[in-house]
């Protein structure tokens, strides 16, 4: 048994983190505020070249064939660096394509040529459904700019729909400046690359990666708050000497650690086919979602007036945390199915 990232994994993740720091600094989120795509197409292509979209995909479709825990560690870095762009949709989309025999499509996604935007199947009170291989209803698209496909996930499975087949495409203002959003209508649009949940636990895989991204957000905000507590002077002393601040930071450290370890435990459980994998993944999504949102919220408070400004990063973390929380089952939506599971192994 070993739950500590190996030297190999740390090296791999460090390379990705370096790329994000150089190519997608958080300031870019503000600079691209008016651009149709939250991430520059050039950076997306370079990231794909680096192998970010195919880390855990089969070598046969152009992936690197690494295990799910490697990919989880990568998504932790995506969260930590607040990297925009439809990574989660594309990585899961490529897997659906590969699993359903569409090797070419999987390859295009992994190479960065074809983008897959995650879809949320609810707009206002309208809930979209998949039945008899077609999607019907209104959907919400995340980062639809340039996306050829939308990723559709239900309790029964997951698949792709061509965005060109959707109607009433309309951009809506997104709460998160780093995530573009649009709504659309699907009138019996065929779902392709459909993979039933019984064939592959694709939604659980997505939940692991989303949880990992949330872990990164929880850690980054813990670090932002801690750094501020060390340097911000009030009453002649750093504010971190006060327990009201120090204890907030300590609580953030606890939440982030719980989220990290549970997410890695879940990733390994799912990868190795443990009988309680679903239990572990749902638990991870709950604790990681809560850690990310709470830590980001506390970061605003620790920063006082500065934390309430658009210029500061705190709100960007909070807003992204809410977006990722909604993907692959929110922390609230996970509770009932978690309680319905058998006890952990």
């Amino acid at each position: 048994m070993d739950l500590l990232p190996s030297a190999d994994q740390q090296e791999l993740v460090a390379a990705a983190a370096e790329f994000f720091a150089e190519q997608v600094p958080i300031s870019a989120v503000r600079e691209r505020r008016a651009d149709p795509a939250a991430i520059a197409p050039k950076v997306w292509a370079e990231g794909a070249l680096l192998g970010l979209l195919g880390l855990a995909a089969d070598v046969a479709v152009g992936g690197s064939g690494r295990p799910l825990d490697d990919e989880a560690l990568l998504f932790r870095e995506l969260g930590r660096a607040l990297v925009p762009g439809p990574f989660l949709g594309s990585v899961i989309g490529a897997r659906l394509a590969a699993l359903s025999g569409a090797a070419d499509l999987a390859g295009f996604v992994i190479e960065g040529h074809t983008l897959v935007a995650p879809a949320l199947l609810r707009v206002d009170d309208d809930v979209a459904t998949v039945a008899d291989g077609v999607l019907t209803g209104r959907i919400r698209l995340l980062d639809p700019a340039g996306a050829e496909y939308a990723l559709v996930v239900t309790d029964d499975g997951a698949g792709l729909v061509a965005t060109a087949a959707l109607t009433d495409l309309a951009p809506v203002e997104s709460s998160d400046p780093g995530t573009r959003m649009g709504t659309a209508r699907a009138e019996a649009v065929p779902v392709t690359c459909w993979v039933p949940a019984t064939q592959d636990p694709i939604a659980l895989r997505g939940a692991v990666l989303a949880a990992a991204q949330l872990v990164g957000i929880a850690e980054a905000t813990r670090d932002l708050s801690t750094a501020h507590a060390k340097t911000r002077i009030q009453f002649g002393r750093p504010i971190g000497v006060n327990q009201a601040i120090k204890h907030r930071c300590a609580d953030m450290a606890v939440s982030a650690e719980a989220a990290l370890q549970q997410t890695l435990f879940a990733a390994v459980s799912l990868r190795s086919g443990r009988a309680d994998a679903e239990f572990q993944v749902r638990a991870a999504k709950v604790v990681a979602g809560r850690a990310a949102i709470t830590n980001a919220a506390e970061t605003i408070q620790v920063h006082g007036g500065m934390g309430y400004t658009y210029e500061h990063d705190a709100h960007l973390y909070l807003k992204r945390a809410h977006v990722v929380d909604q993907l692959f089952g929110s922390r609230t939506a996970q509770l009932a199915p978690l309680l319905a599971q058998e006890a952990a192994q």
């Binding site: 048994m1 070993d2 739950l3 500590l4 990232p5 190996s6 994994q9 295990p67 825990d69 813990r222 801690t226 507590a229 060390k230 002393r237 750093p238 971190g240 000497v241 327990q243 120090k246 204890h247 930071c249 300590a250 609580d251 450290a253 606890v254 650690e257 719980a258 989220a259 370890q261 549970q262 890695l264 435990f265 990733a267 390994v268 459980s269 190795s272 443990r274 239990f279 572990q280 749902r282 638990a283 991870a284 709950v286 604790v287 996970q334 509770l335 009932a336 978690l338 309680l339 006890a343 952990a344």
Partner: protein, 390 residues
């Protein structure tokens, strides 16, 4: 990364399971303090005879010389079997033992460690004082060196099992100059020494083991000092990091089992609406699911902590993260049990009796106080893990 146990570890698990099935005590744990002592020691003796005492302790002192991973396997199987916690033996096995292993002289180790493992002695802890709680280093119980002895005068408090213990890990002040952390000595006290007066303290859960201890010119041989005179603070800190680190492994496993018992209870008992089972209540079901997620993550943290432990000898300040999280969850679970029981929870049932949720609920309030309050854990995390200014 992997969660796989090796064939040897799986075999070890099978052996533990088989042995527990054949040797676990069938009679329930008694309530009174003295019978509890006898019960706990007898059970410890049985474990020793079966070769299961001190799984991760060095072989030269009677241990098995295995790792904390095998110790974890033991705890998991132990909890799965619903076995009693080892209260009277806790301090010996989880504080004094590990502290002696890392800090004591060969003579001290050779004398004390096998006795702990064989279930011959009960240890208690003499750290807190009426005026030295969270601020432990301000302790004032005096230790005057007189010839080959330290003569101890003062008072300790919150000492579990002091009235039944044979030995005590005792902190005394041997130097009263201004340097607070200097001048503390960690010494082994014989609880049967003349001049020691133990008075029981009643607790909110009806527990019988809490005490205060008075020392009136108690003579303790200097040979009982662990580490050096005046340099006991570092020894005490290693004791506390064991308490906050590995000692919670067993508690974590028990807590996970408790949550599953509680879910079972919520399926069986009528809920707040007086019609449906408690688990059908929205708030209760959400809190149960949240507890499940939290104990799962507590376990993942424990596993990761054990992996870190295998890479280095002594637990670091990260143990405080687990201790703080554990305390929070333990209290939440116990309070949820009261809400599941509803009016039936108003009946007091000792935590030693099956279904003793109300006794357990009151006991849970000790989780965020004993072993360093949650506020102190947050200070440690802030200062030593995050590096915040003091």
């Amino acid at each position: 990364m992997d969660l796989d146990f090796s064939p040897e570890q799986l075999l070890f698990r099978d052996e533990v399971r088989t042995w527990l099935a054949e040797n676990a005590p069938s009679e329930p744990r008694p309530h009174g303090a003295a019978p509890m002592r006898e019960y706990d020691l007898a059970w410890q003796r049985t474990q020793w005879e079966g070769g299961w005492a001190g799984i991760a302790w060095p072989t030269e002192y009677g241990g098995r010389g295995l790792t904390t991973l095998q110790q974890l396997i033991w705890y998991e199987e132990y909890a799965r079997k619903g076995m009693p916690s080892i209260d009277a033996c806790f301090v010996g096995l989880n504080h004094a033992g590990p502290t002696l292993i890392t800090r004591a002289s060969e003579e001290q180790k050779a004398h004390h460690l096998p006795r702990i493992l064989r279930g011959e002695v009960v240890w208690c802890q003499g750290f807190s004082e009426p005026e030295a709680g969270s601020d432990l280093a301000s302790l004032a119980t005096r230790g005057e060196i007189d010839g080959d002895d330290i003569v101890v005068t003062g008072q300790k408090v919150w000492t579990s099992f002091a009235d039944l213990a044979d030995h005590q890990e005792l902190l005394v002040r041997t130097d009263r100059s201004d340097r607070k952390h200097h001048g503390i000595t960690w010494v082994i006290a014989d609880m049967h020494s003349p001049g020691i007066d133990v008075r029981p303290i009643e607790t909110i859960d009806g527990g019988a083991e809490f005490c205060e201890v008075f020392y009136d010119e108690v003579r303790i041989p200097l040979a009982n000092v662990v580490g050096e005179v005046d340099k006991g603070w570092a020894v005490a800190m290693s004791t506390l990091s064991f308490e906050r680190g590995t000692a919670y492994t067993a508690g974590q496993v028990r807590l996970a089992a408790l949550v599953e018992n509680l879910i079972e209870l919520a399926r069986e008992r009528t809920g707040p609406d007086g019609r449906r089972p408690a688990i059908a209540d929205d708030e209760i079901s959400r809190r149960l699911a949240t507890c499940r997620a939290e104990v799962a993550s507590l376990r993942a943290m424990t596993y990761a902590g054990i992996c870190r432990n295998l890479a280095s000898d002594a637990p670091g300040p990260e143990g405080s993260i687990i201790k703080l999280y554990y305390s929070d969850i333990a209290k939440q679970v116990a309070r949820l049990a009261m809400d599941v029981l509803g009016p039936d929870g108003l009946e007091f049932v000792s935590r030693w009796v099956p279904g003793g949720w109300s006794g357990h609920y009151f006991y849970s309030y000790s989780a965020s106080i004993g072993g360093g309050t949650s506020e102190i854990q947050r200070n440690i995390i802030g200062d030593r893990v995050l590096g915040l200014p003091r």
